[in-house]
């Protein structure tokens, strides 16, 4: 990692990711402004918040005091929570994988034996069953964690789309599901 604040990330994938986020945010804000010109109420709170966020993403250094305080807080909260959710999700998945491979630790030994000695029909069948079971559990773990991550990010996104002073049942925040707090 570079020691200067404004330097591009060393991992090229990260840079591409940020470019994509910026482009999407700017496109969304531009779309919102066109919508306003076409009859949407001016000063729409969601668009304003996204515009501030997009500006901050473009110049991250501006968050430290020179930009609007609310926007800075918003950006820090949003990016911080998103990072926490992503890290927690990755950590949970890896921990679960470790646990799964621990539970099936004996399988490795049996697979090794299968390569060196003949197994009975029953042993072969049991071995194949256990390998299939492990494969299913690994897939299920990824699927469940993916759905959990998607839900948490969706809920976080909804907090961004909801003005802070909106009543709890105001659209688009009028479903109990959307009122659920994000668990990082």
């Amino acid at each position: 990692m570079s020691d200067t604040e404004d330097a591009a990330p060393e991992w090229p994938g990260g840079g591409l990711m940020w470019q994509a986020i910026l482009a999407a945010a700017q496109q969304f804000v531009a779309g919102g402004r066109q919508g306003a010109a076409a009859g949407m109420p001016p000063g729409d709170a969601t668009s304003d918040r996204l515009a501030l966020l997009a500006g901050l993403l473009k110049s991250p250094g501006a968050a430290a005091g020179t930009a609007d305080d609310n926007a800075g807080r918003l950006a820090v909260e949003f990016l911080g929570q998103a990072s926490l959710i992503a890290m927690a999700s990755g950590f949970r998945y890896w921990r679960r994988l470790m646990r799964l491979f621990d539970q099936h630790a004996a399988l490795g030994g049996r697979l090794g034996l299968a390569g060196t000695q003949a197994l009975s029909e029953e042993e072969q069948r049991l071995l194949a069953e256990e390998v299939r079971g492990l494969a299913r559990e690994v897939g299920d773990a990824a699927s469940q964690e993916g759905r959990r991550f998607a839900l948490e990010m969706e809920l976080l996104g909804l907090t961004l789309a909801t003005p802070p002073d909106a009543p709890p049942d105001a659209p688009p925040n009028n479903s109990p599901r959307r009122r659920k707090r994000v668990k990082a």
């Binding site: 069948r125 194949a128 759905r147 959990r148 839900l151 599901r177």
Partner: protein
């Protein structure tokens, strides 16, 4: 917790009233058959799944009329699958009385099932989400039944059983969960609950109970891959008898298989415990209030008769 969380007496009353009203609206030619099929002690487990999922994502809210209607629809389509199953399995009795085709004849039973499907889709009032889910249900059930028949007498195992049961009963409960929460968040939970229900049914059949109305002997005779069968046929001798019961004319294979399946019941119960835990994990992660779903799992789990 369990009793309160699954208290749907008001909704169940509304459902039975809706079913009676629906029968009243059907052609009088079919009234007697429809009453015979629908008003004979159903456990309404699938409607209960719909109500539980609804309550799990809308805690404290009243179950709305459209959810009662969804429960009616799942009950209609579930009964279609029962009518066809009973014909195919040559079953004489269901819920302690004659099956529809035994009482009214095959033609009447087939035509009644077609009528129910058509009227079920008509009642969706063109709701695309509802149509999509109900179409998915019928299509996946059709494929699952064909797959189950094709794979009979094969030396398959537990993982194969999960696939078959997941597509069969699992689909029904998956769709029920989706009809309840309408967000797909509880789809996987529904599939696991269906898998659990199917496995408990298999185990109860081998135990000789008739709690779920199934027929263990039919499955044994037809070489259907039940949960105890999937576990027992890891033994080559059992696999051989399962694949071809007439291979050893001197021995009666069916009692031998029944005993082998019974011997695997403790392992089957352990597998059911694992599936129940998977379902609990889904409920805790994806429901705003998991209590109704956890109670539903407990109510399902005891059906194995352990």
């Amino acid at each position: 917790m369990a009793n309160d969380a699954l208290d749907f007496s008001v909704e169940m009353h509304a459902l039975t009233t809706a079913i009676e009203a629906w029968i009243g609206d059907c052609d009088p030619e079919l009234h007697e058959a429809l009453r015979w099929q629908f008003l004979a002690g159903s456990k309404y487990f699938r409607p209960m799944t719909i109500f539980s999922c609804r309550r799990a994502v809308h805690p404290g809210a009243t179950i709305p009329p459209e959810t009662i209607e969804a429960a009616l629809l799942i009950e209609l389509f579930h009964n279609v699958s029962l009518i066809v199953d009973d014909i195919v399995d040559h079953s004489d009795a269901r819920r302690g009385r004659l099956t529809l085709h035994r009482k009214f004849g095959q033609l009447h039973a087939f035509m009644t099932s077609g009528y129910i499907v058509a009227d079920g889709f008509r009642r969706t009032s063109g709701d695309p989400g509802l149509i999509e889910l109900l179409a998915e249900l019928l299509q996946r059930l059709a494929v699952a039944e064909c797959m189950q028949w094709r794979l009979r007498r094969r030396p398959a195992g537990y993982e194969d059983w999960r696939i078959i049961a997941g597509e069969d009963t699992g689909t029904m409960f998956e769709v029920a969960a989706c009809l309840g929460d309408r967000t797909q968040r509880l789809r996987k939970f529904g599939g696991l609950l269906g898998l659990l229900y199917h496995g408990c049914d298999d185990v109860a059949d081998v135990r000789g109970t008739t709690a779920l109305g199934g027929g263990g002997f039919d499955d044994l005779r037809d070489g259907i891959l039940t949960l105890p069968a999937a576990l027992a046929i890891s033994d080559p001798a059992v696999a051989l008898a399962f694949a071809d019961p007439s291979a050893n004319p001197g021995e009666d294979a069916l009692p031998f298989l029944a005993e082998a399946f019974r011997a695997r019941l403790p392992e089957a119960e352990a597998r059911l415990d694992q599936i129940a835990e998977e379902a609990r994990s889904e409920a805790r992660l994806f429901a705003d209030d998991p209590d109704p779903l956890l109670a539903l799992i407990e109510r399902t789990r005891v059906l194995s008769g352990a």
